[in-house]
Assembly symmetry: C2
Amino acid sequence: MGNYTKPIDLKYSDRIQQVPRSFIRDILKVASSPEIISFAGGLPNRKYFPVKELSESTARVMKNQASTALQYSLTSGLPKLREIIATFYTNQGLNIPIENILITTGSQQALDLIGKTFINEGDTVLLEEPSYLGAIQAFSMYRPKFKAIELQADGINIEKWEEAIKHDQPKFTYMIPNFQNPTGISYSLQKRKEVAKRAIENNSLLIEDDPYGKIRFSGEHLPNIFSLAPNNTILLGSFSKIIVPGFRLGWVIADKKIINKLEVAKQAADLHTDVFVQHIVIDFLKHNDLNTHLNKILKAYKTQADSICDAMAEYLPENFTFTKPQGGMFTWVTMPNNYSSLKVFNEAQKRNMAFVPGVPFYIDRKDASTMRLNFSCSEPNIINEGIKRLAKAIEQLYPSKF
Amino acid sequence: MGNYTKPIDLKYSDRIQQVPRSFIRDILKVASSPEIISFAGGLPNRKYFPVKELSESTARVMKNQASTALQYSLTSGLPKLREIIATFYTNQGLNIPIENILITTGSQQALDLIGKTFINEGDTVLLEEPSYLGAIQAFSMYRPKFKAIELQADGINIEKWEEAIKHDQPKFTYMIPNFQNPTGISYSLQKRKEVAKRAIENNSLLIEDDPYGKIRFSGEHLPNIFSLAPNNTILLGSFSKIIVPGFRLGWVIADKKIINKLEVAKQAADLHTDVFVQHIVIDFLKHNDLNTHLNKILKAYKTQADSICDAMAEYLPENFTFTKPQGGMFTWVTMPNNYSSLKVFNEAQKRNMAFVPGVPFYIDRKDASTMRLNFSCSEPNIINEGIKRLAKAIEQLYPSKF
């Protein structure tokens, strides 16, 4: 700016000094060239956005409710939208009053509000290892001590987790039991029950982040841990993967006392979430069957998940393992311990293929022998070609291992 | 919820324990009955929402850009929207690159991000006395020591302010130089120049909150302090009062280094602001002349401001003073020191009239002899009747003083 001459000496807060630049953002910059086959993103497939239906809803809202839909509104979110969200859980035997639901500016805001409401500097927060980067970033702002607990193929390592609860007295444990980002792993029914039981026994708080719960394309729907331990659980949901992410609409379900505190934090954070898009989503869900819409997404994602698993089985070395996801948007490749995902990333990039190395999903950000691969945005033939390129990059780096 | 049986023992953060329930929210609940004449709100007048134009823009965005406008997007906000915002300041001789602009989820989010980025617990923050409640709430979350500096009829008390800067080494000073909420006071040109000069001399950071700058209906536009001390100032703006508040769209302008830090905080807070409404506002401003739209608002607000000032001059006791605002949405009544605005509020309520007692706009939340009156949402005849009722309430409580 022409007017800037002598920048003043700035004193930032300690918390902002500590937060590292987003690793994924740098990777996505690399991955954005059109010639690259990228499994690096984390986007829902825009082909399945219900554009026509949302256009109709938008026109109706503008015609019938404009002056309310464009004015300031309630911090807690529209009651009608909260009623609709409550119905998402009735098939689990839950009857959730709207006072237990808070609308948030995307699920990400719920993570920030939870951090703000619960974490004092130095408090312990337990996470799965690996865990969702956005949660690590949001909680980091409140300067907790993180402790990462091994994530196994059927969910968190229960014994190690309970040991940490008893030893570290954490403020809460953050979990993604359905089709986790980054690993695609889902908790078994048995593990869900164990988690609920031990949380109750230890009087310990859980954050159950569930953005992908309705994106199950194989296997049977399993209950939210919230339904098994409602007094111990704060449940997060989102419209980003089931309708569209651009609206930034999510929700929190919890005990009323907790919701009241989160609402105070939300009022200070942004007064309320865009109420225009809240009206649009209410109208959309009134005039359209959500399951009919979801089935289109599930069909495509299942085909793409099958494609990536088939290609990995065919082209990747035999000593590699990977998740066969039953839902969500990601799979996770584990290479032998001494392999470097950063080196593989650089080599794959030369072959116009990209993914996210496992690094940012671990608390200590060391190099990792793991990779996150997104399958929601690529057609099967592209997926096949992308995995071929990945296999060549690995062969180039680690030839003797093939 | 039927499922809640034994709520667990919750340990909240210290910061959330301290934030009091919103005083204004309780008052607005009282003021929401239809028979009440309320000057308590802080809403722009929905009569002047450009509904037809926004409907057209929304339809065009859905037709031409749906898949981008509904997908995840940039944390910094759409470049085109930032370009448009930059043009708002060219008449002040400013040429602002888009790298210096961050889109926020309403101006309120900018306050939260600034608190997060700058305030360590115990840092001093300087405010005008009285100040905007939303800023006090947002900054409170980061547990600063507040120090309030007298606000005079032409702006902050410069000598007391500079003394506080030298003595307390504040992280920043928060100011609303145009038509302040709650007082309606604007800084004179002279005071703006003095503030800029002393901020530069003392190497001190200013937060210039300017949601009402374009809502000037009398007098001449005065420069933002940002234009006089760009290295020392973070400037906040908002579409809430010039287009619609329901979209939750605001912006921050600052040095690139500061914007980078705020962007890290924003990514952790909500990833990005609703990109659908960003597209709508871009389209609206491309197809409509903002000044033509603003002139309708200004004409109405001027008539209403004149009405409330005329009515106050006619009905209120002579020893009362009030702001004659040149813009914005509020006026501010100062009663003799020993009068209680809380008592007046209760008495006015019995007469179906409401306003906001001055209390929540002061750091120490004692009773106050001041009142905030909003004039943007009432017709002149209603305004006249409301002030009559207020005068009767005052006469009932303080009869000898008339």
